[in-house]
Assembly symmetry: C2
Homo-oligomer: 243 residues x 2
DNA sequence: CAGTGGTCTAGACCACGAG
DNA sequence: TCGTGGTCTAGACCACTGG
């Protein structure tokens, strides 16, 4: 019998990926250079081609490899840097920080959308949506402020929901899954309303997140989230790349 | 990176993933509910179990499914929302916007690191690294400002590089691939130096990106990037989820 | 046209962990 | 303990696309 490599329970594809990654990082295989094809690597690593394929697709997804039929696989010239963000539920963020969660709705009414919102979500200007503003608190202190538009046409059950009591964020997560989303970050100086609701000063730099989601009925919701001053949004882990 | 156009021959695993996704989104299968096991789905879709497995792993990666051995596969209770950012090279960002790229280095010297930087990268306080500040321009206007620390021990060839002429960003991408990275966004009011170099006003809200990279020799570089006021950083596409 | 990656299959064994 | 997902394999055919 042939023994397993001692101490290692790493799946074979992972092992191949790691080894290829190492060769790239250590310049054993240089940028733009062609690497052996799947069949050859399968022999070298004593694996099935499908296993090698899986490993190489992983690396291509990370941006370390460029793969093309007939042309073969090359080390990417500009390793694309990717980072994955996980957007958790507000309540969870607050509670993970060991604080007591609460939230308060400051406004909720039907209203025609402003032109900029219309353009962003792809609805005709003046369309009437539900508009709401809410603040989420941790231990009674403002954690984030959301300014949200909701589209009843994309989520009909929405008419029945009572967001004065319920958290819109959680209701949507549970009742209106999306098929597509856009997410963007920017920074803004706190305006008068931001400052009042977040209990900070006018002009304070705020990290702003815009998120819009769609299903096949159209846009579901678009929201501008203003975080508490000093808040960070970060990645958990990131795969290999350059810089 | 970008999915195939939906119209034509969709790979079988993609088709299965789409169909399962549809059943979840349309509440045919509810949150927390157990879905048929791989063997059953393989029969339903007339596919091999490996193909079903691939589809379900995709959805689990998106956060739509929870999979556990023996316990089976369930629709996730809180669909985790994930978003992937691609951090491109500064020059490319500028040139894609149709502007002429240039950059200027404002300071470069060896210097002991401040305590907060030391803590962030995991080096002893007072360690001497290369410190540099540079501004990247589009059509002569400031595009972003970077304040960077470089560790020669993790990238020995660095000593030879001349960043007064070369772009550190690009040099690193090509010569010092990383194995691990951390990325975070926040917002800060422009300080005096930020304002001067970005040609904006003191107190202007700036989107700040912190990035630190490591290889197996230790931290390679840590950088604070301040973007031009009004700049957005966003995702390209996002997969299904909630909210 | 032919080499290379893309994908699927049928079968197998293993690892985890719920019951 | 044993059902379920995790992974691998050997082989096959197909879809691109470079030469």
């Amino acid at each position: 019998m042939i023994d397993k490599p001692a101490g290692s329970t790493s799946p074979k594809a992972q092992h191949i990926a790691s080894e290829v990654r190492r060769r790239i990082v250590e310049h054993e295989w240089r940028q733009g250079e062609r690497i052996p094809d799947e069949a050859d690597l399968a022999i070298e690593f004593d694996a099935a081609r499908a296993t090698v394929n899986k490993a190489l697709q992983l690396l291509a997804g990370e941006g370390l490899l460029d793969r093309r039929r007939r042309a073969g696989t090359r080390v990417a010239i500009d390793p694309v840097r990717k980072a994955t963000f996980t957007i958790s539920i507000v309540r969870e963020q607050v509670e993970q920080a060991g604080m007591a969660y609460s939230h308060r709705v400051f406004a909720q009414r039907k209203s025609p959308i402003p032109d900029d919102i219309a353009a962003r979500v792809g609805l005709p200007p003046g369309e009437v949506l539900v508009h709401m503003r809410a603040v989420h608190y941790g231990d009674g202190l403002p954690f984030q402020l959301e300014d949200r538009w909701l589209n009843p046409r994309a989520a009909p059950e929405l008419e029945k929901a009572d967001f004065w009591q319920l958290n819109a964020n959680e209701w949507l997560v549970r009742n209106a899954p999306y098929l597509r989303a856009e997410l963007a970050f920017s920074a803004e100086n706190a305006n008068r309303r931001d400052a009042r609701l977040l209990r900070t000063q006018l002009g304070q730099a705020l990290l702003i997140m815009h998120r819009t989601t769609w299903n096949d009925l159209g846009p579901i919701t678009t929201v501008r989230v203003a975080f508490q001053p000093g808040h960070f949004v970060g990645t958990e882990k990131t795969t290999a790349g350059g810089d």
